[in-house]
Amino acid sequence: MSADAGTAITPEALEAERDYLLRYASLQLRNPAQVEDAVQETLLAALEGLERFSGRSTLRTWLTGILKHKIIDHLRRSGRERPLGSDDDERTETEIVDALFAEDGHWRGFPADWGSPAKSLENSRFWKAFELCLQRLPARTARVFTMREVMEMSTDDICQELEISTTNCWVMLHRARLTLRECLEMTWFDGQPS
């Protein structure tokens, strides 16, 4: 997986990272054709620019860096064709967060005790629930969340890319976390032995 400086990287080594790149891209792009394209472009760019791979980072880190740019290109392109707009016509992000709390700011539902959630990471059924919960996030919220958590972009960079305010970005991330939290609690952690 990693290669030292000067070690030749074979097309096979690039190909071996393909599954990882596909998974990474599919967390960010919802259209499977776009996912394929972004990964294909990344592998091609890597092949053409092999001499730029310094060996200071692992091959995967280097490829992921290229893929991030390709993903952003795709997001920009599809954003021009079909802007995401807002997720909800009437309710603002703030109102959606507000709805989870009582008037006095207490939790409306009681967040449950998840026991030792780390155990779930080893359970394939947990990942099914996790995928479903991610897919249920509204498109715009999901985009901000995955830019932050999957691509590990700073909120400043996300705001700039999506042309939204920093405050709005924080509200959307808060909403995403609360919504995911609630979804996992209902679909997975409810009734799981702790």
Partner: protein, 59 residues
């Protein structure tokens, strides 16, 4: 001075996105000390971050 659950939850979320100020951290801690629900949510937010990276990296 002590924030409610809603504000604490906002602070918990923003703590994952920016360094909180001294007063913000202090207020958040004061609330967490008396609220087991928000302590759960705090751990759950950490878990969400770990889970997304686990999923991404396919470990």
């Amino acid at each position: 001075m002590i924030p409610n659950c809603k504000e604490t939850s906002q602070l918990l979320s923003q703590a994952q996105d920016r360094p909180l100020g001294f007063v913000e951290r202090l207020r958040m801690r004061l609330h967490l000390a008396i609220c087991d629900r928000c302590r759960r949510v705090s751990m759950q937010f950490d878990f969400l971050r770990a889970a997304v990276r686990h999923y991404r990296d396919g470990e």
